[in-house]
C-alpha cells in the first residue's frame, strides 16, 4: 500500500523533504513504524546516542492521519495522508 507522508517545520528541514509517497510492504504499518522505516530520527539531537532508542518516535512529535490528530500506533490504510508534527507554536 502507499502512504503519503508529510513533514513540517523543523522536521521538514532536518529530513530535507516535505512530502513523499511511501510504499509499505510489511503489515501492519503504523505512524511509529513509518517513522522508523524513514529514519526520521536521523540528525535529531536527543536520543540518538542510546541504543534501541535511535529510531523511536520522540515525545514532542505528534501524528496526524488524514489531517486529524491520531495515536502513533493507529493502523494505516492504503491512501492515508500521514503527517509528523513538531511541537506546535501558534497564536
Amino acid at each position: 500500500m502507499a502512504i503519503q507522508v508529510r513533514l513540517f517545520a523543523s522536521l521538514r528541514e532536518r529530513a530535507g523533504w516535505s512530502e513523499r509517497l511511501v510504499a509499505v510492504d510489511g503489515l501492519p504499518a503504523t505512524p511509529r513504524s513509518l517513522w522508523r522505516q524513514l529514519h526520521l530520527s536521523d540528525g535529531a539531537e536527543a536520543g540518538t546516542g542510546r541504543a534501541g532508542q535511535a529510531d523511536a518516535l520522540p515525545q514532542g512529535i505528534r501524528v496526524a492521519i488524514n489531517q486529524a490528530f491520531a495515536a502513533p500506533d493507529t493502523p494505516l490504510v492504503d491512501g492515508d495522508e500521514l503527517a509528523f508534527l513538531p511541537p506546535i507554536s501558534g497564536g
Partner: protein, 166 residues
C-alpha cells in the same frame, strides 16, 4: 443566518479593528428577519449584537525569545488541517460555554514586528462565558492548531518550540 464560527487564515497583514467591524456586520445580518420595519431597521440591527463581546489581539514582538532584535516571524501551517482544527476547537468552545459566535483570524507566512498575528473574538449573552470562551479558544489554538513559528534575527531563522506561559 450566519455561521457561529468564522475562521480566517491570512497571508497578508490585517487590521484587527476592521476585521472586528466586518464580523459585527455579519452578526447583525443574521438577525434581520423579513418582517423588519424599514424605519426601525438600524435599531433592530443594533439590538441584535449580543450583550457581551470579548476580544484578544496578539501582535509580533520586536525581539526574539532570547532578546535579540527580531527581523520577522515566519509562520508555517498545515493547509487544510489547520483550518479544520480551528473550526473544531472554536465549535467545541462555543458549545461548552453556550456562546453565540466566535471569530478567529490568524496570519500565516512572513509577519513583521508589530503586525497582528492573531485575533480571537467571542460574542455571548453574558460577560463570563464570553471572556472564558475567548481565553480558552486562544489557549487551544496556541497548543492544538498546527502552526509553527520561526524567528528570523541577524539573517538566521530558528524554530520556536512551544509557547510563552499564560
Amino acid at each position: 443566518m450566519t455561521t457561529p464560527c468564522t475562521i480566517e487564515l491570512l497571508a497578508q497583514p490585517f487590521e484587527p479593528l476592521q476585521a472586528l467591524a466586518a464580523w459585527q456586520r455579519q452578526l447583525r445580518c443574521g438577525c434581520e428577519g423579513p418582517g423588519t420595519d424599514r424605519g426601525d431597521a438600524s435599531r433592530v440591527e443594533q439590538a441584535c449584537l449580543p450583550p457581551a463581546e470579548a476580544h484578544f489581539i496578539g501582535r509580533v514582538r520586536a525581539t526574539t525569545a532570547s532578546g535579540a532584535p527580531l527581523e520577522a516571524l515566519e509562520l508555517e501551517h498545515y493547509p487544510g488541517m489547520t483550518e479544520r482544527q480551528l473550526v473544531q476547537l472554536a465549535e467545541g468552545c462555543l458549545q461548552r460555554h453556550g456562546v453565540a459566535a466566535a471569530l478567529v483570524v490568524h496570519r500565516v507566512g512572513r509577519i513583521l514586528p508589530g503586525e497582528a498575528i492573531v485575533l480571537v473574538a467571542v460574542a455571548a449573552d453574558r460577560r463570563g462565558p464570553a471572556q472564558r470562551c475567548g481565553q480558552e479558544l486562544l489557549e487551544a489554538l496556541k497548543h492544538e492548531a498546527p502552526f509553527w513559528k520561526r524567528e528570523w534575527s541577524g539573517g538566521v531563522g530558528g524554530w520556536v518550540e512551544g509557547n510563552t506561559a499564560w
